[in-house]
Amino acid sequence: MPKVNLYATFRDLTGTSHLEVEGRTVGEVLANLVQAYPKLKEELFEGEALAERVSVFLDGRDVRYLEGLSTPLAPEATLDLFPPVAGGALTRNFGAFPAWLLEEYLASWGGKRPEEGLYALPGAKVRFAEAEPLKVGSLSVPQLWVEVEGEEAEAWFNRIVFAASRGGG
């Protein structure tokens, strides 16, 4: 049965962070999820379509770049559901940027850590969680989900984006 990981406010709405949900496509799994937790409906859907600001990742890949709600799911598939952001919050998945390194930066920028996965900076809060790694062929690239909210969200978000800059070759 496909696994579903929930993040941030989705955890508050369901009271859990991990679930197993029946379904052969992304759409079927989300429909069954909404049936179990009706409060998720307006968060996940706009009419029949996936809400624009929700991020749904299948094994690390955004399902929008696959087949959307029709994307087929193997029984061992893992979906990551990131909530829609509101009130000036900004969010992104970063690759090859470990959580421990982000924490080092946040601490060096004067951040305080009230709880695991959360830092308070002047004018902003930063939430983060390790997402499912992006798996492509024989490569597995770690992914870190980060959300920044508050009056100074944009400035802090840009600072994190800059620090997380990577490339390759």
């Binding site: 770049y65 940027f97 470990p98 062929g137 024989s138 997380a164 800059s165 490339g167 070759g169």
Partner: protein, 608 residues
């Protein structure tokens, strides 16, 4: 005085035999760092109008401030010159230990001009450079030269050599060192051949390793860099991550599934049976040993053995680009013949990417009747491929035409459209119909089509630093500028490109600050990268690559991809160029004076 440097560069005139030494200007070091950046600065000062094969062309062999230190992945050496293939400024980098030993021998670089009357090699040792007779080495393969010169100067000696292709001015001849690492692209080996310079021997010992100016900051910087590279979840993790286990060739199966592997000279975007030239297959069936370069825990180098006509051939390395060019692009996926072709290119000293493109262009020309000589070959003709590689290196038959580069060959037979080139340099192993970012990266690369100026597959395939849709053009101009600037900087340190899969501006800035002994901000290093990229572009503008020279082969713009993953796709170059030029502040590919002034290039160019 900034730390990390030997503060000594040799100026070698092969015409007169004179060698002089000077300390690089501290202002140049702060603005251009070393490696690629400082090399480009010296090549720029030598003048963009120079004929690449004239004695006046400058051949710069450069290391960087982190070369020869304990900084992870700091084993890269930059070769910078005016390219005989493209007419642009070009830089090409080799791994191994040459860069480190050059530093330990007391040098930040060698600036070579003139042309010797007879073949020569350079001996670099104890802060001195001497010019030696190489008459007995002329005509020999790179492997033979490595063996002879290491017997002569000891196993501690590091040798970089050109092969017969460089001697014969094959426009894509390269340098190969004794770890079989190549400064592959742009024909820097042909420039050496035109100067009758066969090899450079570097003798240096680790006890001359530079120490950081700020040891406490270095401990912190090294801790962070090492921890990110060795993070067991990352692709760089030694003996765990995909890049460590399979090397560059881990990409082969992936790009094939995405419809992003140019095959049969990019008439198709995938190939059946690609598995047999993939990194996974090579590891299981042909691997001998995982070797590495100076200060690198990743060990992506793969020593392999292939078997052809009853002979076993051992070499390094079965890289992704090489396996693609001499295999899939040439219409076959034969494990052993592809390996043999790679080995031969290394022996003769030729860029495997350009050589594979030359083969593929000849194959398409033969099949379509554009070339009707008896020595034409068709796709999949593995033995014919070997014959043509030998013909190119020795400039025999059609090989003489192909030695001018596939772009010139295609033009000479009246069909320039079958050469997949930008500014005269052929494409590497990513099809921009399946990876749109590579389209803008190829078009705007200052050294011609190249995957190493801006590696957009990091984002489009691996989600680094964030995932983008490989089939979307939006945002790729901005991404390309970031990658180009970051790479221009790391090429100047000079660190391996793989370091970017783990490290970012914060980690690089800390390491440089610890060595330089003065604060360096992450913003400053990207500004340095931008300055280098703009100086290269300014050079190219002055050398004749002006408005309209950021183009792509028509095939990618007009002929749709035919493979799953990218079927029906073409490359939207104009839209990406518009976005890119806006990010750069350029006018249709030309650097305006205001940008040159902003980056401090114009005042230097004017001699202020």
């Amino acid at each position: 005085m900034l730390g990390g440097y030997a503060h000594r560069i040799a100026r070698i005139d092969l015409t007169s035999g004179k060698v002089e030494y000077f300390a690089p200007d501290p202002k140049d070091l702060e603005m251009y760092v070393g490696g690629r950046g400082l090399g480009v600065k010296y090549v720029f000062e030598n003048g963009p109008q120079v004929d690449p094969f004239s004695p006046e062309n400058l051949l710069a062999i450069m290391n960087g401030p982190l070369s020869g230190t304990r900084a992870k992945m700091s084993g890269r050496l930059a070769v910078v010159t005016k390219s005989p293939l493209t007419g642009t400024v070009t830089d090409s980098h080799m791994g191994g230990w040459t860069a480190a030993k050059l530093k330990w021998a007391g040098f930040d670089g060698l600036l070579i001009k003139g042309a010797a009357e007879k073949p020569v090699y350079l001996l670099v040792k104890d802060g001195e450079v001497s010019i030696r007779d190489a008459s007995d080495l002329w005509g020999k393969t790179t492997h033979e030269v490595h063996r002879i010169l290491r017997e002569r100067h000891g196993e501690e000696a590091d040798v970089m050599a050109i092969g017969p292709a460089g001697e014969n001015r094959v426009r894509f001849a390269n340098w190969i060192n004794n770890d079989e690492r190549a400064a592959g692209r742009g024909g820097t080996g042909a420039v050496a051949g035109s100067k009758r310079l066969k090899a450079i021997v570097v003798v240096g010992k680790q006890d001359h390793m530079p120490q950081p100016k700020d040891p406490e900051l270095w401990r912190e910087a090294d801790r962070l860099a090492s921890a990110t590279i060795n993070d067991p979840k990352n692709v760089t993790a030694p003996k765990k991550g995909g890049l460590s286990l399979y090397g560059t060739n881990v990409l082969m199966n992936i790009t094939n599934v995405m419809g992003a592997l140019p095959t049969f000279n990019a008439q198709h975007t995938c190939i059946d049976g690609v598995q047999t030239i993939s990194g996974e297959y090579i590891r299981e069936h042909r691997l001998v040993k995982d070797n590495t370069c100076h200060a690198c825990p990743v060990a992506c180098k793969k020593m392999v053995e292939v078997h052809v006509n009853g002979k076993t051939i051992r070499f390094e390395s079965y890289e992704y680009e090489s396996a693609w060019a001499l295999g899939a692009h040439s219409g076959h996926t034969d494990t052993d013949w592809t390996g043999y072709a790679i080995y031969l290119c290394n022996a003769y000293g030729m860029d495997t990417i350009e050589a594979g493109n030359a083969i593929a262009v000849l194959m398409e020309a033969t099949e379509k009747g554009y070339y009707q000589g008896e020595d034409g070959i068709r796709f999949g003709d593995k033995e014919g491929e070997i014959r043509i590689l030998e013909a190119i290196a020795h400039r025999k038959g059609v090989g003489d035409m192909l030695a001018e580069g596939p772009a010139r060959f295609a033009k000479a037979i009246g069909h320039p459209e079958i050469s997949l080139e930008v500014k005269g340099q052929s494409i590497p192993a990513y099809d921009p119909r399946g990876l749109k970012g590579m389209g803008i990266a190829y078009a705007t690369s200052n050294r011609g089509a190249c995957h190493l100026r801006a590696y957009t597959p990091a984002s489009e395939i691996l989600g680094v630093p964030y995932k983008t849709d490989p089939l979307a053009w939006e945002g790729k101009g901005k991404l390309t500028k970031l990658f180009q600037d970051l790479s221009a900087f790391t090429d100047s340190l000079d660190l391996c490109k793989f370091s970017q899969f783990a490290e970012g501006p914060e980690e690089y800035a800390k390491q440089l600050a610890a060595y330089w002994g003065r604060p360096v901000t992450p913003e400053e290093i990207l500004k340095i990268g931008e300055r280098i990229y703009n100086l290269e572009r300014y050079y190219n503008n002055l050398a004749g690559w002006a408005e309209g020279s950021d183009y792509l082969p028509k095939r990618f713009l007009e002929e749709p991809s035919d493979c799953a993953g990218s079927k029906g796709q073409r490359t939207e170059l104009d839209l990406m160029l518009e976005e890119y030029y806006r990010e750069r502040g350029w006018e249709r590919g030309v650097v305006p004076p205001a940008k040159l002034a902003e980056l401090g290039i114009l005042s230097q160019a004017a001699g202020d």
